[in-house]
């Protein structure tokens, strides 16, 4: 047990401040300390992506990052992407195209997909498959996840065009 560290985070727009041991993993901070249980734990080795969150604009697997490493960061989890009154097009598309089954990978999957579409608003199927390869799904075989992301991309591009 080492000395506790003073950590500040902004999670889904809300400022958080707490003392934590240096070894505290970010996924633990989110799930246990802040009660943000959308991100899940699947492997603890950075392989499955169930714990994916966005940190300072980048997709990060929160199971292998210390909370201390995120000190001062802005973090977005699935809870910050959209709720009942303001669903994100990806959330709508995953339902519409049956892009999920057990739902365990879904928060990480959608969180990663939001960044993918920011980085590349018009991805080809190959680019989607490559860009999502850090997130494992055991149920869907990915075909409908790809379809969901394509549909959300089209929807978002159409909305952007309409707004311009």
């Amino acid at each position: 047990m080492s000395k506790k560290m003073h950590i500040k985070l902004k999670v889904n727009g809300k400022d958080e401040e707490f003392l934590a041991e240096p070894r505290e993993l970010l996924i633990y901070t989110l799930r246990e300390r802040l009660n943000i249980t959308g991100p899940h734990i699947g492997c603890e080795t950075s392989h499955c992506g169930a714990c994916t969150v966005t940190i300072n604009g980048k997709s990060v697997k929160s199971c292998t990052m210390f909370a201390a490493q995120a000190d001062g960061a802005e973090i977005t989890t699935i809870e910050g992407i959209g709720g009942p009154d303001d669903l994100h097009p990806l959330q709508e598309a995953f339902k519409e195209h049956h892009g999920l089954q057990c739902g365990y990978c879904t928060p990480g999957m959608i969180t990663r997909a939001t960044k993918l579409l920011e980085e590349n608003p018009n991805p080809s199927e190959e680019e989607i498959r490559f860009g999502m390869a850090g997130n494992i799904c055991r149920c869907t075989g990915y075909q409908n996840i790809v379809k969901s992301i394509q549909a959300a991309a089209a929807e978002m591009n159409a909305a952007k065009e309409a707004a311009e």
Partner: protein, 808 residues
């Protein structure tokens, strides 16, 4: 009275059977509001975790917990010595064996549970685990089941009598101290005779490797003993919550009404979450001891190394035929590696599951199957990973034997299948190994599949590719993988299927609310299959209320009727049938209410979509919504108020889904990398409830099949070290490795199921594994390959190419 909408619109409004209704589960999952077991948080909750054995076989000479108990936050450390006075240091397994909850003097596999550290949080528990000092004395390790049957090393001293004799096991006589059972089916001598005198005999030995279901969410539970009320609540990743309640009652002595088991959202199961694990028992004990709720959640290594392996069947087959290719006999012997304890999850009377479906889709007059179960120093388990009990093994066996026979006969494997299929007019068909197949139309499915993929064209292309390869124009070979499978699912009839004495019926209870909506509760539990969506569709069609007005609830033993749970594709065949039957009871009462309201005789009204109408006068009707209200506000002579029904359904037979799959693969002989160019899957699951969900199940099952066939395995070294304990070594395909699949279907309803449905979740896995494997093997057939074992990872494919001299 007239409607302002058409009959067709009324049907559409119900969102009943046959429509691709969107899933009601998705809103919470897409917004991060699922409630999985690790999301359950209770005041004062503690966290438990295991000290695990680094050795595969060792005697434990001492356990010192003093230092661990000094760690701030550590409250207790449980060992077998603490559990023994409670009689809980061992527990019964589903297979009639017993298993150590915590190591009782020795360990039998790497990762075995030795002590349970209970602490205020996960970090303190981890610190405590580091400081529990266990002294081991290593014993010789046996990881090969054939060697185990010859070895002097006794793995299970508890199963050897004091005079050194070997008492019978749960499934009869044992031949050796490391032998568990011999189980057989069919006619031994007649089969041997047919094979001895046959025109042609093909023989093969094959190893269906050990693997693991590996759902994305691991196993876990939260046990909370309320000492004031004497009630235990147990949340957990249970595919069979009611059975877990009964097991907990039997082993803990708590009365069953004082135990409430809740399966919350489950992050995939695939068989992993059927069994009862030491973590559940230790959590319950720890909660009783500390008086606080205790959570236990596996990490991924715990999961892969200790709970629920699948497969590990060494199979030897002989198949005989006439010169023309008509199969005359089949012989199969299996040496089944069950690990240190026999914890296989099978119906009691079937220690090798339904392996005796291994005659497959073919009319084979004579057959014999014999299975020997063996103890080794590996983890216990033997679950059905996305299949009905051992059906993947059976289907892989026969679909490989057909290919091997085709090579021997120098015949096309598609044609060999066609001339041996059970014919449509032969159903119901009693197979040589005992099962009565309820229905099938194999020729139609096969012809449709081969036509769609242009099978003849593919074979011509493949022949050209072989020429090009030989001429040095390409380094890629082409494989055409075929499989035609018949599953046996929906266990099962109580007369021959039980688990721990509990008959494998299932149940549904329906309450119609006054304003015309409803709640239905079932004995099953979804792990991603979408029960809340599809069971409401069955009910909508049966009772004429919209699916959107029907809540489906599962997984709480205090509220749901008793059922045996979800695995072996049994939810639709058994609980789905119960749902339809309970719905029909509702309808029968509704008919009487309608007749009363319309002032006619009961027989003068008939059901029409969402209402009862007076026969011959369709303008006179009462909708189900109106009837529901009447059930609560009318005093109808001779009819009780309310509108509720319950059905416990004991299926008369299993269901037999089938399908025809074709995989086209290009294989780079220099890198061993297979590229799946096309995968066509035709499934016949009988009546289709929700085509969107069926298609999703097929995609997922095929992907798990791809994993198993092309790389996924639980491997051990000679010391019994598990070499594949993390996702770094255990292959789970990503979006990058997985192709797009083409799905198709035929519909052959089950004649005995109330709505004709057969179950589909596991078909694609069962049929997919041999299809991927056959594609790899087929690519090398022109160069002399008969059989190579899975998993066909890049290295093994390269090695096959190398051994066949294809690297020059």
């Amino acid at each position: 009275m007239k409607d302002d909408i058409t009959r067709e619109e009324r049907v559409d409004n119900l969102k009943g059977m046959g429509c691709s209704r969107k899933r009601v589960e998705d809103a919470r999952f897409t917004q991060g509001k699922g409630n999985y077991v690790d999301d359950v948080k209770l005041d004062g909750m503690l966290f438990g975790d295991f000290v695990r054995s680094p050795y595969a076989h060792a005697r434990i000479t001492n356990i010192d917990t003093a230092a661990a108990l000094e760690v701030p936050g550590v409250l207790a450390v449980l060992t077998a010595a603490d559990l023994e006075p409670l009689g809980l240091h061992w527990m019964p397994t589903l297979a009639g064996d017993k298993q150590m909850v915590l190591a009782d003097g020795k360990v039998l596999f790497q990762g075995q549970e030795v002590a349970f550290v209970v602490a205020e949080d996960r970090y303190a528990a981890a610190d405590g685990i580091e400081l529990v000092e266990v002294e081991y004395e290593e014993l010789p390790v046996v990881v090969n089941p054939f060697e185990a049957l010859k070895s002097d090393v006794v793995l299970r001293e508890d199963l050897v009598a004091e005079d050194g004799s070997i008492p019978d096991g749960a499934h009869g006589p044992r031949k050796h101290h490391n032998h568990i059972f011999t189980w057989d089916a069919g006619d031994k001598e007649p089969t041997e005779e047919v094979i001895a005198n046959a025109d042609v005999v093909a023989e093969e030995t094959m190893y269906y490797h050990r693997t693991h279901p590996c759902p994305l969410e691991t196993c876990g539970c939260v046990a909370s003993m309320d000492k004031v009320n004497g009630k235990l609540t147990l949340w957990g990743t249970f595919q069979a919550p009611h059975a877990i309640r009964t097991i907990v009652s039997l082993i803990s002595g708590l009365e069953e009404h004082n135990i409430r088991v809740i399966s919350p959202d489950i992050g995939g199961g695939f068989g992993n979450k059927v069994g009862a694990y030491p973590g559940y028992v230790c959590s319950v004990v720890a909660s009783i001891v500390t008086g606080k709720p205790v959570k236990w959640i596996e990490d991924r290594m715990d999961n892969l190394m200790t709970t629920a392996f699948a497969r590990d069947y060494h199979m030897t087959g002989k198949i005989s035929a006439t010169k023309e290719g008509k199969i005359t006999g089949l012989h199969c012997h299996v040496t089944a590696d069950h690990g240190g304890f026999d914890a296989c999850a099978d119906p009691t009377k079937f220690p090798a599951g339904f392996m005796n479906i291994c005659t497959g889709s073919y009319d084979i007059p004579t057959a014999y199957l014999e299975v020997d179960g063996v103890y080794t120093n590996k983890a216990p388990g033997g679950v059905s990973y996305r299949c009905s009990f051992r059906v993947t093994e059976a289907v892989y066996f026969i679909e490989r034997m057909i290919e091997v026979l085709a090579i021997k006969l120098n015949m096309d494997a598609a044609e060999l299948r066609r001339i041996n299929f059970i014919k449509k007019e032969q159903f119901p068909y009693t197979a040589a190994l005992g099962w009565e197949y309820d229905s099938g139309d194999y020729h139609t499915a096969w012809d449709k599949a081969l036509k769609t993929v242009d099978y003849d064209g593919l074979r011509a292309e493949q022949a050209q590719r072989v020429e090009d390869f030989k001429a040095g124009k390409t380094r890629k070979l082409m494989g055409i993988g075929l499989s035609f499978f018949t599953e046996i699912v929906g266990a099962g009839p109580v007369k021959n299927c039980d688990i721990l004495g509990l008959g494998m019926f299932d149940s549904c209870e329906i309450r119609i609310h006054p304003t015309g909506s409803a709640i239905a509760r079932l004995g099953t539990i979804s792990q991603g299959q979408g029960h809340a969506t599809t069971f409401a569709q069955i009910l909508a069609s049966e009772i004429g209320l919209p699916a959107d007005s029907i809540t489906i609830e599962e997984g709480d033993t205090d509220t749901a009727p008793y059922g045996l749970g979800t695995y072996g594709s049994r939810s639709t065949p058994v609980a789905g049938a119960a749902t339809a039957m309970a719905g029909r009871k509702i309808r029968a009462k509704a008919q009487m209410i309608a007749a009363y309201l319309l002032e006619v005789h009961d027989n003068d009204v008939e059901f029409d979509v969402d209402r009862f109408v007076v026969k011959g006068a369709p303008e006179k009707f009462k909708t189900m919504k109106e009837i529901a209200f009447a059930a609560y506000n009318q005093a109808i002579p001779g009819i009780e108020p309310g509108l509720e029904a319950v059905s416990y359904y004991d299926p008369p037979n299993m269901t037999y889904p089938f399908g025809a799959y074709v995989c086209v693969m290009d294989i780079d002989v220099d890198t061993g990398v297979p590229e799946i160019r096309r995968f066509y899957a035709l499934d016949d699951c009988g009546t289709r409830i929700n085509p969107m969900i069926i298609e999703g199940q097929v995609h997922g099952g095929l992907t798990e099949a791809l994993a198993v066939a092309l790389g996924q395995e639980i491997a051990y070294d000679d010391m019994g070290n598990c070499k594949t304990g993390t996702l770094m070594d255990f292959f789970l395909p990503t979006a990058w490795e997985v192709p797009n699949y083409e799905t198709d279907f035929t519909v052959t309803p089950s004649p005995h199921h109330p709505i004709g449905a057969k179950g589909v979740g596991e078909s694609p896995h069962v049929g997919g594994v041999p299809c991927f494997s056959n594609a790899v093997q087929d690519a090398f057939r022109p160069f002399g390959n008969t059989h190579t074992n899975m998993p066909h990872d890049h290295w093994r494919i390269w090695k096959t190419a190398n051994e066949l001299g294809l690297h020059g």
